[in-house]
Symmetry: C2
Subunit: 495 residues, 2 copies
């Protein structure tokens, strides 16, 4: 009990330590920490009256909203598990999630996609949700007490043809937040604009780190460049969930200088962007942002910001984890050799919901097996090589799509590229590149293949190059199943 710190506890402390600080901004909604705490208590009591007990699941189906944070914190207060579901998924996919997770309560947003999906007893976001919350008692909820219990479920990529809900405990989320506070050098007053999808760990992890340090979370349904500008100006936002083309869109939306974006302390991107914002010197922003991560490690496992001038593309581990590069037999491989990236530590997940066999397989030997290949460089930094199951076997050689994709993207005419393995009678598999050319860019298949040969070992050169208008994506990574289906991939030895 003395060592416990649940997400609910974090909120309870802020309600006392930061009575005047704004916790949440969402459209007309503005809540101080005491106000958020009071609403979360009512919501928890209302959910409890619906039968949500410790261990039960609560589902959100909708775009970003302060209700996502409220439902997560109310679930924490009850010892229950909250899942923000992907509202972009199809009705079939959602039906699978509902059957898999069997939530005791669903809060759902009326929208074009989700409209037809209403179920018995579902609570509609907006007025119905407010009425439901207001009906909850204001009395203190009895302490649930166990910060090692799962509190957040996020569905992740399918390993066996179906998605799996990664379970994260309060302890893991608090630890991961601490690592982000360290690397991003977040301070009280930090204001985060939640414009990326909250069903994805990439946005959720910054939302939670902002909560942890007692900052302000601003919610907007989804990315809209003009709205991002307006909110940054109005709320003095410190950081938003922005990358490459999104940043360009923000720069374009503010070309006339209508909005003051100087409160944004962010990574250097372009002369226009740097002039509009404040280039930040924290390790997270100073180097190339990011590192290596996945939902199962709470977000980030390694940080580029902890390894300036690193040889490895993924940087060094967070101060709260250990990483080992392991061979299939569980032994550690020496630096320079490729093996599976495995991890232990304070921010790791608690397994997948209702997947005992998969959990046993992925935690064998007391290490979480990420399913991704990597290696240690001579300087101790980590290189992410690619997903283990996508390794291509060509003759006796292993080819990792990510490596070939990086080489392809350095060709001046290439906008995007993905690599798959296609069955080959003689070599078992052959490397095939699917390439998207830039507007006005031209290159032949031979030129593309030769470009890769100039950068990598000759056996990694694509034997087949096919041009396409776009690469299908799952989140930020190529949808390899769709690519295999469309371009004839298969015969992977790791599958």
């Amino acid at each position: 009990m003395i060592h416990q710190l649940t997400l609910s506890d974090v909120l309870a402390e802020h309600a006392r330590s930061r009575p005047q600080v704004t916790a949440v901004v969402d459209g007309e909604v503005r809540l101080t920490y005491p106000e958020l705490d009071a609403r979360v208590t009512r919501l928890a009591n209302a959910l409890a009256a619906r039968g949500v007990a410790a261990g039960e699941r609560v589902l959100w189906l909708g775009q970003n909203s302060h209700a996502v944070l409220e439902l997560l914190l109310a679930s924490s207060r009850l010892g229950a598990v909250f899942c923000p579901a992907n509202w972009r998924q199809s009705a079939d996919e959602l039906a699978f999630v509902l059957d898999d997770l069997a939530p005791k309560a669903v809060v759902w947003e009326r929208s074009e996609t989700a409209g037809p999906l209403s179920g018995d007893g579902w609570i509609a976001a907006g007025a119905d949700y407010e009425e439901f919350l207001a009906g909850g008692s204001a009395e203190a909820v009895p302490e649930s007490g166990d910060d090692a219990a799962p509190v957040l479920a996020l569905y992740t990529a399918a390993f066996d043809g179906r998605p799996n809900a990664a379970l994260l405990s309060s302890a893991a989320l608090v630890a991961h937040s601490a690592s982000l506070l360290v690397v991003r050098q977040m301070e009280p007053g930090f204001t985060f604009l939640n414009n990326g999808p909250l069903f994805h760990v990439g946005t959720m992890m910054f939302c939670l780190a902002t909560l942890q340090i007692g900052g302000t979370n601003v919610f907007t349904p989804a990315f809209d460049a003009e709205e991002v500008c307006r909110l940054v100006d109005a709320e003095k936002v410190t950081q938003a969930f922005l990358f490459g083309q999104m940043i360009d869109a923000v720069v374009a939306a503010n070309a006339g200088g209508k909005y003051d974006l100087s409160s944004l302390r962010f990574v250097s991107h372009s002369a226009e962007w740097d002039a509009m914002t404040t280039v930040d010197d924290s390790p997270w922003c100073r180097s190339k942002m990011g590192g290596y991560g996945q939902t199962e490690v709470g977000g980030m496992l390694t940080f580029l910001g902890l390894a300036p001038d690193a040889a490895g593309f993924a940087g060094r581990p967070s101060p709260l984890v250990q990483v080992r590069i392991l061979a299939p037999d569980g032994s550690e491989v020496p630096p320079g050799e490729t093996g599976e990236i495995c991890a232990r530590g304070k921010s790791l997940f608690s397994g997948y919901f209702n997947r005992p066999e998969l959990n046993e397989a992925r935690s064998r030997g007391g290490w979480h097996h990420t399913g991704d290949l990597g290696r240690r460089e001579a300087d101790g930094t980590i290189t992410f090589v690619g997903p283990r199951l996508r390794m291509i076997k060509s003759g006796n050689e292993n080819v990792y799509p990510a490596e070939v994709e990086r080489a392809l993207r350095t060709h001046p005419a290439v906008a995007d590229a993905a690599v798959i393995g296609v069955p080959d009678e003689r070599w078992h598999q052959a490397v095939k590149a699917v390439v998207v050319l830039k507007d006005g860019g031209t290159a032949s298949a031979e030129e593309i293949a030769e470009h890769v040969k100039g950068a990598l070992a000759s056996y990694k050169k694509p034997r087949h190059v096919e041009f396409a208008a776009s690469i299908p994506k799952k989140g930020f990574t190529p949808d390899y199943d769709a690519l295999d289906a469309a371009y004839g991939g298969g015969n992977y030895p790791g599958s």
Copy 2:
């Protein structure tokens, strides 16, 4: 297992992630992380051969040395408990510690004070220690695996006439380090000069945070201004354990500018100091350093750096703890009222070694009772009022010595002051001030009392003022038992 991160694990990760980084500098000794890891393995195996198993205690008796860190890490590797004992204590006090802790191994430094204390089988620091370590096997130590197990024992102030060993687990120490990394904005490359005593949590906590981020720990036996200058220059030290008069001594030692101290990133102190060093902008250095802490919370519980412009003298809680101000019946007192500072969270200790009754009393209701009084201000920040057991009852009024002491120290002629309660027939107790005047300062007892009356409620004014050449201290705080004995204190209602 997946969530485990012991201090030994932290070292094992750095040995892989930071193969070229210097972990330790101590005189002629320079060790990279892989070298430190290899020595710690040998030391752990040598200690195991001596019978040190999980839960057994290992004692260090000596000044600062890299051996302190090695023994702590080797103890962690074995699941054992390491105690760096206060080498300044008397033979009687040490005899109590030896009897209380019953260590399986003692490493001890020959010195004037500790010389006569040698015991059977004790290992002398220096050549004997090196020989002992070299005799240990280089084989990997079987994993101990439990980061919730105590690994560090630090003796703290007596509550009942004898000191108690506060037990800190790896999990608590790792969490506390994370909070320091956040507030001090420590980064890889951080170099800490261990010039304060490592048997005190104040130096130990920075040593461990430096380990956590993969920085460099420089050891020097004790504070020496010239040696501090030399080491800062030679090792490019980022931070040392320096306060007020120590900083003035460093400035004096470097008056001629012989040493380059610009690598020190520290708090602003004086024009000369600021010119020699780099004034740091982290929350820890930006505001007045510090906050409220004690060994039992891992070091710091609250930070001034998390509460710029705070009303409360102690700032706001670390992001990894909760604080409650509780009445004797366990209920929470409202803001503005004084109660006991109580805490929960990731950095808290695991109780005192071998003190079941005290542990039960101090953890009642699931909250660690610090034994200190405090209050929440209207802005949510915390004020430390003073030790609960030292509260003075004068008439129906409670008087807290710390408050009166702060008022006394604002008098221009006062160098130092301490306040006790003396028995009083009419009022139960009366406030008595023991005052040290500055060189050349003059003030009468009446002037001193009137000065306090001008700052505080009239009943807090000292009825008795006695002048002294110095205030007896225990570490950084007045030794109230000695003061009571010398100046007639007693009759405290909290005792």
